[in-house]
Amino acid sequence: MTGGEFSVLLGVIFLFASAFLCIVYGILNSIRRRPLSEKERTEEEKWLDEEEKIDDEWTGGV
């Protein structure tokens, strides 16, 4: 195997390793999803509440 061919092989490993990393990271973090902290929940809920109050200007509140 030449150096150039070895580099392509490394590229293939890099490709699958990156995809594997994304999949494992995504799955693990979905399974072990902790509940939102009080601070975070409050922050997001506050923001969402504010959004809810905004009049729907396109649909007239549909």
């Binding site: 601070k39 009049d55 396109w58």
Partner: protein, 541 residues
């Protein structure tokens, strides 16, 4: 360049029926986006887009016709070493973009109530100048990129169906403009998700069918390996060593592959405004984790497949006609994939491939038009009006901006010459990454980064990239002609440096000035920065 007939043998009525069903689905999803939208949703999708939709939308907006047809064709010439770009697309464009930078982008964006990329940077540094400057650069340069995608799509329609180029151009633009205008970002993302799904199905079928055709993956790659003796002498002189091998290190092909494609497109994606803004659309940081998984699989299938197909097309054409793929395609690499579909795939697949191509083009164009329109409406006019515009007026102005963006893009598409697709794409990626990557990423990690530092980084990086494109990087400087005027050569320096992408030196220059100027200036909005970093801590595990 020889002309090769790649017009597919399709039944016009069946094709029209398939396209009508497709358009019906797109119209329905746009309408769904509209009825679920509220005022600010037009810019940021309401910040409660599901992770799978967000990931598919990001991927579909990222991967355009140039990735499938353009880069697939390039793989027919360069070979499997392009697989490094697919790996970079996943590692930088998905894993780092979502799991690392995306969460911080979302946390800071939420803290600042930012809905667009220019607004994000402007509020992070308390600088209206940054907002206008970023939006202006987007408005000026993004239509170039949009035109490249539009030209690619129209050329494919023209070559596959025999539709006149101008009609294809008009039909595409009209279709995309209508549903972006109707649905805003939510509509764009819903339709992107549909299109992303079609792209996955189409690419998977292509890959499996190609392997079956060539006797299985092991046989196919063995045959490709055995073809290394067939590399044309002029390609070998430029560094080509076969389709299963990297080019010679530091050869012209090597620099093009690694500096322009792997580094420029693979890493440059992190600073693309229409993609970065996707991280602002999800409800929680956890959605970004799930989006990373979906996005990783999506890019693996949709990007790696055309590269593998492109390389293996040499085996197919050599076995069939005794010629290399580029020769079979009349030395026009953009025709390799359409020709492969025509000659290697079953007839019915032509209909499906048309939808895949439509999807790839439309999903990218819609994001581009949306980003340009919102930059014009929200970041320039609304910001200039300083709160005197109502929310309704702002959306209306964004829509006018989208119409203007479509018209400008169509105009550019009519004017731009042949072979401009890759150059226009690389110029846009280069400009955004050179100027914005360093300040944007540092803004997520470094509290000491100042407004002056960010502006210095943006201006110096952008200037360095522009100088590079105008005078030093031959593939662009030869088109602009300034280097020719000054030195009589297509590039100012005619050694190997003419193949080095400007991003390679513009990004370090931008980083240098961002850091150094920040050390000598003061943070002017310490309270806001503190709040941003506090929220990063709160929102990220």
């Amino acid at each position: 360049m020889d002309s090769v007939n790649v017009t597919l043998d399709v039944n016009l009525f069946v094709m029209v029926a398939v396209i009508i069903v497709y358009l019906g689905a797109v119209a329905f999803l746009s309408w769904l986006g509209r009825i679920k939208s509220r005022g600010d949703d037009f810019a940021s999708g309401g910040r409660n887009i599901p992770s799978a939709v967000m990931a598919l939308s990001y991927g579909a907006a990222f991967i355009s016709t140039s990735a499938i047809v353009g880069f697939g064709g390039m793989a027919a010439e360069i070979g499997m070493s392009l697989i490094w770009l697919a790996g970079a697309n996943i590692f930088f464009g998905i894993f780092l973009a979502f799991a690392v930078f995306g969460k911080r982008t979302r946390a800071v964006g939420l803290t600042l109530d930012a809905h667009t990329f220019p607004e994000f940077l402007s509020k992070r540094f308390a600088s209206p100048f940054i907002r206008y400057f970023t939006a202006a650069v987007m408005i000026v340069s993004m239509p170039l990129y949009a035109a490249a995608v539009l030209i690619g799509a129209a050329r494919i329609l023209e070559s596959l169906l025999g539709v006149p180029y101008e009609y294809a151009l008009a039909a595409f633009s009209l279709l995309v403009a209508v549903y972006v205008l109707i649905g805003g970002l939510r509509g764009v993302m819903y339709t992107d998700a549909l299109q992303g799904t079609l792209m996955i199905a189409g690419m998977l079928f292509l890959l499996v069918a190609m392997f079956i055709k060539l006797g299985g993956p092991i046989d196919a790659f063995s045959k490709l390996h055995a073809m290394k003796e067939l590399v044309p002498p002029e390609s070998a002189a430029a560094g080509h060593q076969g389709w299963l091998s990297d080019p010679k290190v530091f050869s012209p092909v090597w620099w093009t592959l690694y500096s322009s494609l792997v580094f420029g497109v693979g890493v440059g994606v992190l600073a693309q405004p229409h993609l970065a803004v996707r991280c602002l659309t999800v409800k929680t940081s956890a959605e970004l984790n799930r989006a990373a998984a979906v996005g990783g699989v999506f890019i693996l299938i949709t990007v790696a497949t055309p590269y593998v197909l492109g390389a293996l097309s040499n085996v197919f054409f050599y076995e069939k006609d005794g010629v290399l793929a580029s020769v079979a395609a009349g030395h026009n690499v953009d025709s390799v994939i359409p020709l492969l579909i025509k000659q290697a795939m079953p007839g019915w697949f032509s209909y499906f491939f048309m939808l895949v191509i439509l999807s790839a083009a439309v999903s990218t164009l819609s994001s581009q038009f949306h980003a340009i329109g919102v930059a014009f409406g929200r970041d320039v006019l609304e910001a200039a009006a300083r709160g005197r515009l109502s929310r309704r007026s702002s959306v209306l102005i964004s829509r006018i901006g989208i119409v203007a963006a479509v018209l400008l893009t169509v105009f550019l598409s009519m004017k731009m010459g042949a072979g401009i697709i890759a150059r226009a794409t690389s110029i846009f990626f280069g400009i955004m990454a050179s100027g914005w990557l360093a300040p944007f990423l540092l803004s997520l990690y470094w509290q000491r980064l100042t407004k002056a530092g960010a502006i210095a980084g943006m201006v110096c990086g952008l200037t360095a990239a522009l100088i590079g494109f105008l005078f030093f990087h031959e593939s662009e400087s030869a088109v602009f002609g300034l280097a020719q005027l000054l030195t009589g050569n297509p590039a100012v320096v005619m050694n190997i440096f003419r193949f080095v992408d400007p991003l390679v030196y513009a990004l370090p220059i931008s980083l240098f000035f961002t850091v150094v100027v920040s050390f000598f200036t003061k943070v002017t909005n310490a309270d806001t920065v503190k709040k941003c970093f506090q929220n990063i801590k709160n929102m990220i595990q």
